[in-house]
């Protein structure tokens, strides 16, 4: 392998890793909800889109500071998470899995449908004050937004690591995830922790929406990054937070590698295709992912 080829490979790996970590950020919202409440959020991409739209709309107002946009997006997403749990998810407790899946699919349709009605159809910019000058490190270079994405993702993962290991609420949440009845018997208000999980998904989505929206521009198509969540979480294991990071990295790097090495031969677009093939293979061989908890079913 000549030096130039090696540099190309290195650049692909780095780029893939940074995109992968940004996938992991979105996947984190999905995993938090699934781990705590056993509910599957098919609207994760729409959450991200909504947060990005709110931030962009506030930044669009003359003279509004960036911090206001971020705070507003986070606050609205937290409120939305609580409201959603109360209005939609709580009545569906104890119903078949399919019902919850369908409800979140319906929710995704509602959010996606209301977007052009409320915010209009055009793409909005979400400029962050970090410049466009690529940051170079030897032969490799990354856009500043990708570096920011990696930093935000790492911060969230470290933060949640601390939260679940050390804080009282985090430990209670793990108890709820482990066994709801026992948690209730120990005096934990299970309903409140369900709501908290959705609110936390809202916070993570707000961060994801701002980072992704700033990279891609904000419109309905931002919701499509949500579809990439599924390969990531299936690979990493649905209820594993570390798995989301590992799955995100794997999917990001695989995508970047096929885009670099396969696309020139088949005419492009393989990166929208390969993650799902990988996911089907994982589902057939190891359905609970790399770090997922295996469930044993009884009649």
């Amino acid at each position: 392998m000549s030096g130039e080829d090696f540099d190309f490979l290195l650049a692909l790996l780095l780029n893939g890793a940074s995109i992968g970590m940004m996938y992991a950020l979105i996947a984190l919202g999905f995993v938090l909800v699934y781990k705590a409440t056993d509910a599957i959020n098919f609207a994760q991409g729409e959450f991200v889109m909504m947060a990005g739209l709110i931030a962009a709309a506030i930044l669009g107002i003359e003279g509004a500071p960036l911090i206001a946009a971020i705070v507003a997006a986070v606050a609205i997403m937290i409120g939305f998470g609580f409201a959603l749990e109360r209005v939609v998810l709580r009545p569906l407790l104890g119903r078949p899995v399919v019902a919850v899946i369908m409800a979140t699919i319906g929710l995704a349709a509602v959010l996606r449908g209301l977007t052009p009605v409320v915010f209009g159809g055009e793409t909005r910019a979400l400029p962050l004050p970090i410049g466009d000058e690529p940051i170079t490190l030897g032969p490799m270079s990354l856009a500043p937004i990708q570096v920011l994405g990696m930093v935000v993702t790492l911060a969230f993962f470290l933060g949640f690591n601390w939260f679940f290991k050390k804080s009282r609420m985090g430990v209670a949440m793990r108890a709820v995830a482990d066994n709801q009845q026992v948690a209730q018997a120990m005096g934990i208000n299970v309903q409140r922790y369900f709501a908290l999980a959705w609110a936390m998904a809202g916070i993570v989505s707000a961060a994801g929406g701002i980072v992704w929206g700033s990279m891609l521009g904000v419109d309905v198509h931002l919701a499509l990054v949500g579809l990439k969540v599924f390969p990531v979480v299936i690979l990493g294991g649905l209820d594993s937070i570390g798995g989301a990071l590992v799955g995100g990295l794997i999917i990001g790097i695989v995508e970047s590698l096929v885009a670099g090495y396969v696309d020139p031969y088949v005419g492009g677009g393989t990166k929208d295709f390969v993650p799902y093939v990988l996911m089907i293979l994982v589902l057939m061989v190891k359905p609970y992912g790399i770090f997922g908890k295996r469930r044993i079913e009884r009649v």
Partner: protein
């Protein structure tokens, strides 16, 4: 459907499973047959017939999805893609080999069934959420493949023009001609589904839905029946795709995107999971609702939105209303319109002496 029986007098299982619970039910069916077969096509204008035609196509597809989701309990987010498989199979056969519809139609259905079984294979190891994600991947992979392989999609725009079908030498060029063509397939699909569900296969499907491990213990080969459900269901979807192709005169992947899979799920949830009558209600409702919304928004919406925005707003509202209805029905009335209809019927059964 509309009768009021005086009590339950059935003494055998055969009587309980009969298609016509009472002689009067047969008469209801005859009246409906005359209404749809003779009266409506005579009095309705082209435009209304075209709406009925869309309903007939939707009924075929929704029945297929309900066999899988409502009766067998396996979720599929890939039915839009199965329809596209049927549509492109039939379009390619019709254009390249010049085959008539009575060959392309079953061919499209069988091809979709084969692909459906392939996508359904993971259902043997996984279920619920995992299956939803696997079929979602199936939808995205099939969509991508059709879009990127010119041999399937006919090159530019990924669409293939198809001539209208000819029956006994007549080309079905108008909506009124297509009406009888599509009515035939809708009725066929309804009859086949009704009979399938009271057969051994249908009972096995319901057993798998209710508790698949228990079903296996009492001797149902769930490997076979899950795949069979996927095959039958995607056969219906393929036929539905072929009918769309002949109806529009074109096979285009844009008619079969993920959003279509969700539309069809909306039909069976709003109509009623695991019910043929509910499926029909749902298909009718979901076909008519966007037309009503469009009518309302075109008259009222211009007050709030500019002309250019209105198209976006209409499609957005349609999507949002469907999503909202899915949620509302799931929370408030999980058995759908079919349950509402049964409530009305049981109210009038003893009316006016309600005790």
């Amino acid at each position: 459907m509309f009768h009021r029986e005086a009590g339950v007098f059935k003494t055998t299982y055969a009587a309980d499973m009969a298609l016509y619970p009472l002689p009067i039910a047969k008469r209801t069916v005859i009246i409906l047959a005359i209404l749809f077969g003779v009266i409506l096509p005579l009095i309705l204008p082209e435009y209304h017939l075209s709406i009925l035609n869309l309903m007939f196509i939707a009924i075929v597809g929704a029945l297929g999805l309900n066999i899988l989701v409502g009766y067998t309990g396996q979720i599929s987010l890939g039915h839009g893609a199965f329809m596209s498989v049927g549509a492109y199979t039939a379009a390619n056969l019709a254009v390249r080999l010049d085959l008539p519809f009575w060959l392309t139609l079953p061919a499209g259905g069988l091809m979709a069934a084969a692909i459906g079984v392939l996508v359904g294979i993971p259902s043997l190891r996984i279920k619920g959420l995992y299956l939803a994600i696997a079929t979602l991947a199936g939808q995205l992979i099939i969509e991508w493949t059709i879009n990127h392989v010119p041999a399937i999609s006919g090159g530019a725009q990924a669409s293939i023009q198809v001539a209208r079908p000819t029956v006994f030498g007549y080309s079905l060029s108008t909506q009124a001609h297509l009406y009888f063509f599509l009515l035939f397939f809708a009725v066929l699909a309804i009859i086949v589904t009704l009979n399938l569900m009271r057969s051994r296969i249908g009972r096995a499907f319901v057993a798998v839905r209710d508790q698949d491990i228990a079903a296996e213990i009492i001797g149902i080969d769930i490997f076979r029946y899950k795949l069979l459900a996927f095959a039958i269901s995607s056969f219906y979807a393929g036929v539905c795709g072929v009918l769309y192709t002949y109806y529009f005169g074109i096979a285009n992947y844009e008619q079969f995107q993920l959003i279509v899979s969700i539309d069809y799920l909306a039909m069976i949830i709003i109509g009623g999971l695991g019910s043929v009558l509910g499926t029909i209600f749902g298909a009718v409702f979901v076909t008519v609702l966007p037309l009503l919304l469009r009518l309302v928004l075109e008259n009222v919406g211009s007050l709030f939105f500019s002309e250019s925005e209105l198209a976006n707003v209409i499609s957005g509202t349609r999507l949002a209303v469907f999503g909202g209805l899915i949620i509302v029905f799931l929370i408030v009335e999980p058995e759908g319109l079919n349950r509402l209809w049964r409530n009305i019927r049981s109210y009038f059964r003893v009316w006016p002496f309600s005790y």
